[in-house]
C-alpha cells in the first residue's frame, strides 16, 4: 500500500461504510452469474463486430493489396513490407531516429501527464464560481481548434515576419529574426508546449468531474482533525484522484507509439524534420502519400501488437506493485 493510501486510510477510518470496491474485495458468496453476462452480451457483440471482425484485414499486410482487384486479384508478397522497413543501414538509421522521436515525445507527454491534475486541483481552489467556469470554458477552447489552424496562428505570431519577431526587432532587442518555426533545436520541447497548451484544459475535465465525486465526508472529518487548505489538497483531493490518474497513465503507456500525426505534420519543415518525424508522420510520409494500403496495414498491425504487449506488461507491473490489475 502506498503512503498516499495510508494517509487516506488515516483520515477516512471513521467512515468505514464507504470503503471502495477496490479495497473491499471480500469474496462474495455463490457462483458466478451468467445472467449478468447475458445483460452485457449485446454490447460485447457490437465490440466484436466493429473491432474484432475487421481484423481479417490484417491479411492485407501480406499482399500488395489493391481495393479494385480485391484480395484474390492482388499479389501475395509475404513479409516484404515488414522487411522493407529495415532493409538498408541508412533505413535502419532513419527508423531509429523516428523511434527515438516517437518515444521522446511520448515520454515527455507522460512526464507532464500530471499537469491536468494540478490544473483541476488548483482550479478547485478558486472560490468564485463565475471565474472558475470562465476559466474552464476558455481553457478548453484550444482543443477545438484544428492543428491546421493552430499552425496558421503560430505562423502569424512566430514566423520570421511574425508578430513576436517584429516586436523584438522594432524594439532593438534582436537584429535578425529568431527562427522559431524553422529551427532544428528544441523541437521536442516546443512540440510539447504546443500540445500541453492544447490539451491541459481539456484533459482536466476528467479530474474536475472526479473531484466533484469525492465523498464530502472525507473533507469534513479531516477538517475536524485540523487539516488546513493545503493538507486537504495533499491528503484528500490528490489521493482520491489517483485511481483515475493511474488508469489513464497505464493506458497512455500502452499508447507509446501512437502520438498522432496532425500536429507534427503541420509543423514539419526541412529544418526540423529530423526531430519532428514521429512514427505516425513517418508512415504517412513514406506510405500513405503513395497510397500503399498494405504497408499501412503492416505498420498498423505492428503498432497494435506492440500496444497490446505494452498494456499487458504495464498491467502485470501494476498487479505486482498494487496488488490489483488495472484492466
Amino acid at each position: 500500500m502506498t503512503t498516499q493510501a495510508v494517509l487516506q486510510e488515516a483520515v477516512t477510518d471513521e467512515v468505514v461504510e464507504s470503503k471502495s470496491h477496490r479495497r473491499a474485495k471480500r469474496p462474495r458468496a455463490g457462483k458466478k452469474s451468467v445472467g449478468m453476462f447475458l445483460c452485457i452480451l449485446p454490447f460485447l457483440a457490437l465490440v466484436f463486430v466493429f473491432s474484432y471482425l475487421p481484423l481479417y484485414g490484417w491479411i492485407f499486410s501480406l499482399y500488395d493489396y489493391q481495393p479494385a482487384l480485391g484480395l484474390s486479384g492482388s499479389d501475395f508478397v509475404g513479409f516484404q513490407w515488414f522487411e522493407m522497413l529495415v532493409r538498408s543501414p541508412t533505413q535502419l538509421a532513419q527508423i531509429t531516429q523516428v523511434l527515438v522521436n516517437t518515444l521522446a515525445m511520448s515520454f515527455l507527454g507522460i512526464l507532464t501527464s500530471f499537469l491536468p491534475i494540478v490544473f483541476a486541483v488548483f482550479l478547485n481552489e478558486v472560490k468564485a464560481p463565475w471565474f472558475r467556469n470562465v476559466v474552464q470554458t476558455l481553457t478548453t477552447l484550444p482543443n477545438f481548434i484544428s492543428w491546421v489552424l493552430v499552425y496558421m496562428i503560430a505562423f502569424s505570431l512566430f514566423s520570421s515576419s511574425g508578430l513576436v519577431n517584429s516586436v523584438l526587432t522594432d524594439s532593438g532587442i534582436i537584429t535578425t529574426p529568431i527562427k522559431f518555426l524553422d529551427s532544428g533545436d528544441h523541437v521536442w520541447l516546443t512540440m510539447l508546449l504546443w500540445s500541453l497548451w492544447k490539451g491541459v484544459g481539456w484533459g482536466a475535465i476528467i479530474y474536475l468531474a472526479a473531484i466533484t465525486g469525492i465523498d464530502p465526508a472525507l473533507y469534513e472529518s479531516a477538517k475536524i482533525d485540523g487539516a488546513g487548505r493545503f493538507q486537504l489538497m495533499r491528503h484528500i483531493t490528490i489521493p482520491q484522484l489517483m485511481p483515475t490518474y493511474v488508469v489513464l497513465l497505464m493506458l497512455s503507456v500502452a499508447n507509446l507509439l501512437n502520438n498522432g500525426m496532425d500536429q507534427y505534420y503541420v509543423f514539419q519543415n526541412a529544418f526540423n524534420m529530423k526531430h519532428i518525424q514521429v512514427l505516425d508522420l513517418y508512415v504517412y510520409n513514406v506510405g500513405m502519400t503513395g497510397n500503399n494500403l498494405s504497408l499501412a496495414t503492416a505498420i498498423g498491425m505492428l503498432k497494435s501488437l506492440i500496444s497490446v504487449i505494452l498494456l499487458v506488461v504495464v498491467n502485470l507491473i501494476a498487479k505486482r506493485a498494487r496488488g490489483t490489475s488495472i484492466i
Partner: protein
C-alpha cells in the same frame, strides 16, 4: 445480310459479350444490350440523376446553373458530382468505392494508376456498342484506340485530345513555365540585359533595393518560396530547369528533345544549379525568410500585396498581381528576357492526356445516355460549354460570345463581364439562373484542348487567342513590354519568334505505376532530397552548401537511390522514344 450470316454474327456477338462480361465483371449486371439503330435518341423520356465520380472535380453535389440547364435540356439528366478533391480523405473514396465495385455512372479518372486499377478491377463498362454511335468522339479515333489497346473493347475515352500537330505547343498565350518578374521595376532598373539564370541575382538585387517596401509597409523580397507542392524534389527548384528545356520524370530531368538526361542529385545537374541560384540569392538577402514555413496561400497573398518580385509561372503571378488597376498603372509581371533560355513547352496531345480518362461505370443505370453525354462533350458545343473552368474555352455561343460584324468570334457584353469584369451579372433567364461562375461545368475535364480550332469560326475555342480579345486587353504594361520585345503581342509569340521555346511532342506517354517497393523507396528518398534541398536553398555560404549537397548525395544513395533512378531513367528514355515516334508520324 442473309439470315444465316446474321444469326452467326449475332451468335458471335453474344458469345463475345458473355466472355467479356464474365471476365470483366466482379459481380452485378452484365452490360445491357444497346439499341443498335445507329444513332443515339434525341429525346430522353425519364429524368435521371447520374452519379459522376470525378477525380478532377472541385465541386461536390448536384451540378447547377447554366451548364446544368444545357445537360437537362439535351439529356434530361442531372449530374450528381462525387469529387474526392472536395470529399476529402485523399484516396479514401476511390478505395472504398472500388472495393465495393461501383464507382459511379460516369467516371472521370485523374491518374493512370486509377485507370489501370479500374480496368483490371472491371469497374468500367465496355462501351463498344455505344462507341459506334459516338460520332464526335470518332473524330479522335487514334486517341481512343491508343487508350484502349488491343481489341478487348472500348472502356475509356481519352481527354485533352487535339487535332493540332504534336509538335505544336498546347499552350495558348502564356507558357506553363517562365521567369516572370515585376516589369515596372525591371524598367526602372533600365531594362538590364540578362544573360543567364545566375545573372538574375544582381538584377533582382537592384530591383529589391529600389523598392524595399511594399505598399502595405512590409519588406519586399525578390523570391518567396513555398513547400506545399514538393514532390520528388523541391518544386521551386525544378522550375528553372524548365527554362532550359528540361522536365521531370521522377528523379530524372529529361531534355524535351531527348538530348540529355540528368540525375537530379548530380552536382552539375540543372536541379543543383537552381539550388545554387537560390543560395546565391539567399546570400544577398533576396529570399523571403518565411519561405520554408509558409504555404501556397500565404505566398499567394504576398504576390497580391506586391511583396514578391519574381515568379516561376505566369499563372501564379499574373492573376495575383496583374489586376486591371495595376496594369493600367503600368505595373505587373511579364516574362524576363533571359538570353539563353529555351522554355519547355508541352506539345499538343494527339493521343490525349493519358493521365486522365473518362469512362462509363459498370453498374451505370442508363449507360446509353451516359455514352451520348460523353459524345456530346467532344462536340463543338460540348467543348465550348464544358471546357470553361480550367480549360479556358469561351463558354456557350450566345451566352458569352457571338460572331461580330466581321464574322469573327468576340466576347459579348455578358462574356466580358464574366471573364474580365468580375462576373457580377446574372445569367440571362433562358440560360437558367445564377451567375456565370456558378454554372460552370463541374466536370473539370478537358475533352478537346481549347487551343484547337473550332472549324465553324476558324479560331480556337480559347477566347484569349481571339484577336478581338487581345485588342480588348491592351494596357500600359503590355504596351511597354511589347515595345521592348520587338513588338510581340503575346509571350508565346515572342518566344516562338526568338526560338526561346522547345516543344516536347505530345506523345501521351505515361510512366507505368511504380511497383509498391519502388514507391516506398521513392517516398523515403524524396523526403531526404526535399529537406536537404531546402537547407541548400537557404544556405548562405558555399561551404555549408557543399557539405549539405554531399550529405544528401550520400544519404539517398544509402537509401537505394540508384534503384529508383534506374526505373526513372528507363521511363524517361521510353517517353522520348514515344515522342519521336509521334513527331514522325504526325509532325
Amino acid at each position: 445480310m442473309k439470315r444465316r450470316e446474321f444469326l452467326a454474327m449475332a451468335g458471335i456477338g453474344t458469345l463475345a459479350s458473355v466472355t467479356l462480361s464474365s471476365c470483366s465483371l466482379i459481380s452485378g449486371d452484365s452490360p445491357k444490350a444497346a439499341s443498335t439503330s445507329g444513332a443515339f435518341p434525341t429525346t430522353w423520356k425519364k429524368e435521371i440523376t447520374v452519379d459522376v465520380f470525378d477525380d478532377l472535380a472541385n465541386y461536390q453535389g448536384i451540378q447547377s446553373g447554366w451548364f446544368a440547364k444545357i445537360v437537362k435540356d439535351k439529356f434530361n439528366m442531372k449530374l450528381n458530382m462525387i469529387a474526392p478533391n472536395v470529399a476529402g480523405g485523399g484516396e479514401t473514396l476511390f478505395n472504398t468505392r472500388s472495393a465495393a465495385g461501383d464507382l459511379g455512372d460516369l467516371v472521370v479518372l485523374g491518374s493512370s494508376q486509377h485507370l489501370d486499377e479500374a480496368l483490371k478491377g472491371g469497374l468500367l463498362l465496355d462501351a463498344s456498342t455505344y462507341y459506334k454511335n459516338m460520332t464526335s468522339v470518332a473524330g479522335y479515333k487514334q486517341a481512343v484506340t491508343k487508350t484502349n489497346p488491343g481489341d478487348k473493347g472500348t472502356f475509356a475515352f481519352p481527354t485533352s485530345v487535339s487535332k493540332l500537330k504534336p509538335t505544336q505547343s498546347s499552350e495558348s498565350t502564356e507558357p506553363t513555365f517562365g521567369p516572370y518578374l515585376r516589369w515596372d521595376l525591371y524598367a526602372d532598373a533600365g531594362y538590364p540585359k540578362i544573360g543567364t539564370l545566375e545573372d538574375l541575382v544582381p538584377v533582382l538585387e537592384d530591383m529589391q533595393k529600389s523598392n524595399p517596401k511594399a505598399p502595405n509597409g512590409k519588406p519586399v523580397y525578390a523570391l518567396s518560396l513555398f513547400k506545399d507542392w514538393d514532390g520528388n524534389m523541391m518544386n521551386n527548384a525544378k522550375q528553372p530547369a524548365c527554362y532550359y528545356g528540361y522536365d521531370e520524370m521522377g528523379f530524372v530531368l529529361a531534355a524535351a528533345d531527348g538530348s540529355a538526361y540528368e540525375s537530379i542529385i548530380d552536382s552539375d545537374s540543372h536541379y543543383v544549379r537552381s539550388l545554387k541560384f537560390f543560395s546565391a540569392a539567399s546570400k544577398k538577402g533576396l529570399v523571403d525568410p518565411d519561405s520554408p514555413t509558409q504555404n501556397y496561400s500565404t505566398m499567394y497573398a504576398k504576390y497580391q500585396a506586391g511583396e514578391v518580385l519574381f515568379a516561376f509561372w505566369p499563372w501564379l503571378a499574373q492573376p495575383a498581381y496583374n489586376t486591371t488597376e495595376n496594369m493600367s498603372a503600368g505595373k505587373g509581371f511579364e516574362i524576363a528576357p533571359l538570353k539563353d533560355m529555351k522554355i519547355f513547352s508541352y506539345g499538343a496531345e494527339v493521343y490525349g492526356n493519358s493521365n486522365y480518362a473518362i469512362g462509363i461505370g459498370v453498374k451505370a443505370s442508363d449507360p446509353e445516355r451516359v455514352a451520348a453525354f460523353i459524345d456530346w462533350l467532344y462536340s463543338t458545343d460540348g467543348v465550348y460549354a464544358n471546357g470553361s473552368q480550367t480549360g479556358s474555352a469561351a463558354g456557350p455561343k450566345g451566352l458569352t460570345w457571338d460572331l461580330n460584324s466581321a464574322k469573327k468570334p468576340a466576347l459579348n457584353a455578358f462574356g466580358q463581364n464574366a471573364f474580365l469584369g468580375g462576373g457580377t451579372k446574372q445569367v440571362p433567364a433562358k440560360w437558367g439562373s445564377g451567375k456565370y461562375a456558378d454554372g460552370v461545368s463541374a466536370l473539370n475535364v478537358t475533352t478537346v484542348t481549347a487551343v484547337d480550332k473550332d472549324p465553324s469560326t476558324g479560331y480556337s475555342f480559347a477566347y484569349q487567342m481571339w484577336p478581338s480579345y487581345q485588342k480588348l486587353i491592351i494596357n500600359p504594361l503590355t504596351k511597354d513590354w511589347s515595345k521592348h520585345m520587338d513588338g510581340a503581342s503575346t509571350t508565346m509569340e515572342y518566344l516562338r519568334d526568338n526560338k526561346k521555346i522547345i516543344v516536347a511532342p505530345g506523345s501521351g506517354y505515361v510512366a507505368p505505376a511504380d511497383s509498391s517497393e519502388i514507391q516506398t523507396l521513392r517516398n523515403q528518398i524524396k523526403a531526404v532530397i526535399v529537406a536537404d534541398s531546402w537547407k541548400m536553398a537557404m544556405a548562405t555560404s558555399t561551404k555549408q552548401f557543399d557539405s549539405l549537397l554531399k550529405d544528401m548525395q550520400d544519404t539517398v544513395k544509402g537509401l537505394g537511390y540508384a534503384k529508383v533512378l534506374k526505373v526513372d531513367m528507363e521511363h524517361a528514355k521510353e517517353q522520348n522514344k514515344t515522342r519521336l515516334e509521334v513527331a514522325k508520324k504526325f509532325g
